[in-house]
């Protein structure tokens, strides 16, 4: 990559020339420079990992810390704004990770999530009903993709339906990398904190069947979580579970409708929904920034030394297309199985909500196949507009007709 000593350090994240195509740098770096220096929006440098084995290895290795709020770690956002990766609360969550993760898991086990499925389906049906009340076209993202995950999380937190829109707005602002200013992010944070404090108090007075009530009961019995942790976890679930899943619903439908043969295959054989969702997760080129980790000591990785004090960025999306780990990696195969993609991370911090996210994605797909078999994109896939500036990439709109 370097021609002489004045090595060019590329800016990260990379831009894709086509919304559904991977940036050409991924294949290049995987091939020639699996540990590549890159420049972050803040101007700081980090090391980008693009090979499956490296990404999986780092994410599974606890020596690579999630704590970026230290002086030595690279900053991510522009204009000095903190991102969700860096702020103090996520650092304190990291310290107490074992404790609260165990608590959270109770609510996200496969059994609990399976029990939520009928409710997710009912919400999806309702959103589709509302969408088709108007004549086509409609924005599938705004009508179904954006609301569904907030509705599901509001259910988890026991938040009343009337407040769903407020939560959606705060969630959007808190995840900003460059789109909102520091002041706007802090304002959203403060409003959300205030709301959640009142909400926790109300739940404490009158507990429900929801996750938040369970967490509160645990706090009151002195079992596990402090009040502060409780609020942070409430926020964490919203930030971790809303935009990610919303954007994924939009991207899933764009990928599956963008080539008619994919949609037709699923119509002919809906039993492929499960593997199709996994393949969509693997194939997504717009999963965003990747996961940053910080290492304090020198570490050997596949024969290279990563010096202590390095911030590494794990690009799961690039790793998901590594031909060393996936046969015909650049081909979308809705029957692919097994499909050990890294879209939900791996190792001790892997996504707690992944069973729920899978259930939401599978349910949306099943309901749309059943209800709207004639569904089609209302604009050519190449014209879909990417939403920029957020940590999690996605489309602005996914216009459809039926």
């Amino acid at each position: 990559m370097s021609t002489n000593d004045t090595e060019q350090v590329p800016d990260y994240p990379f831009r894709s020339p086509e919304p559904l195509e991977p940036p050409p740098q991924w294949a290049e770096l995987r091939e020639r420079c699996p540990m590549a220096p890159v420049r972050l929006p803040s101007g700081d440098q980090a090391m980008l990992l693009t090979r499956y084995r490296d990404v999986r290895g780092v994410l599974s290795d606890r020596r690579f810390s999630r704590q970026l709020g230290t002086d030595r770690a690279a900053r991510i956002g522009s204009d000095g704004s903190e991102t969700i990766f860096e702020n103090a609360d996520s650092a304190s969550l990291t310290e107490n990770h074992e404790r609260w993760r165990g608590r959270l898991h109770k609510s996200f086990t496969a059994k609990r999530v399976n029990a939520m499925q009928p409710r997710v389906e009912q919400m999806t049906e309702q959103l589709v009903d509302e969408m088709i009340q108007q004549p086509p076209p409609a924005d599938l993202l705004a009508m179904v993709g954006f609301p569904l995950p907030v509705w599901v999380i509001c259910d988890l937190l026991g938040v009343p339906d009337v407040d769903r829109d407020k939560l959606a707005h705060w969630s959007n602002s808190m995840l900003s990398m460059t789109q909102y200013s520091r002041e706007q992010m802090q304002a959203a944070q403060a409003e959300f904190d205030e709301y959640m404090q009142a909400h926790v108090a109300a739940k404490r007075a009158e507990p429900g069947e929801d996750l938040l009530s369970e967490l509160i009961i645990a706090v009151d019995e002195g079992q596990a979580l402090t009040e502060r942790e409780l609020l942070t976890i409430g926020q964490g679930i919203l930030v971790a579970g809303h935009e990610t899943t919303s954007n994924m619903i939009g991207k899933m439908m764009a990928m599956l409708l963008g080539e008619r043969s994919r949609w037709e295959l699923l119509l002919a054989d809906p039993s492929l929904v499960r593997t199709a969702v996994e393949e969509v997760l693997r194939f997504d080129t717009n999963s965003g920034f990747g996961l940053p980790r910080f290492i304090t000591e020198d570490v050997e990785l596949e024969g290279h030394t990563i010096p202590g004090g390095t911030t590494v960025i794990c690009s799961m999306a690039a790793a998901n297309r590594d031909a060393a780990s996936f046969e015909a990696a650049e081909t979308m195969d809705l029957r692919r199985s097994p499909n050990p993609h890294l879209t939900f991370g791996a190792g001790p911090y892997a996504c707690v909500g992944q069973a729920l996210a899978r259930t939401e994605l599978q349910t949306v797909l099943r309901v749309l196949l059943r209800r709207l078999p004639t569904l089609a994109l209302a604009v050519p896939a190449e014209q879909l507009e990417l939403r920029e500036g957020l940590l999690i990439g996605g489309f602005e709109r996914v216009p459809v007709r039926w």
């Binding site: 109770k106 496969a110 892997a350």
Partner: protein, 67 residues
């Protein structure tokens, strides 16, 4: 052919992928950690058990098909 499933509970991150895939072989404790229900599943479940081992995000599942 027997297939033996081995789990390393220390590596399990509790995401429940294995339970979703093969509920006859895997379950989870309340806290999320994997429970092995059937270490030698019938042949009809071998493919699914291999898939679970491959996709487990913790790398906590192995299948031994040596004997």
């Amino acid at each position: 052919m027997t297939l033996r499933v081995i789990v390393d509970r220390d590596k399990c991150c509790g995401a429940g992928q294995c339970v979703m895939l093969v509920p006859d072989v895997f379950d989870q404790e309340d806290e999320g950690t994997v429970i092995l229900l059937d270490p030698t599943p019938p042949e009809s479940l071998h493919a699914a058990a291999r898939e679970a081992a491959c996709v487990c995000p913790g790398g906590a599942i192995r299948v031994d098909e040596s004997g």
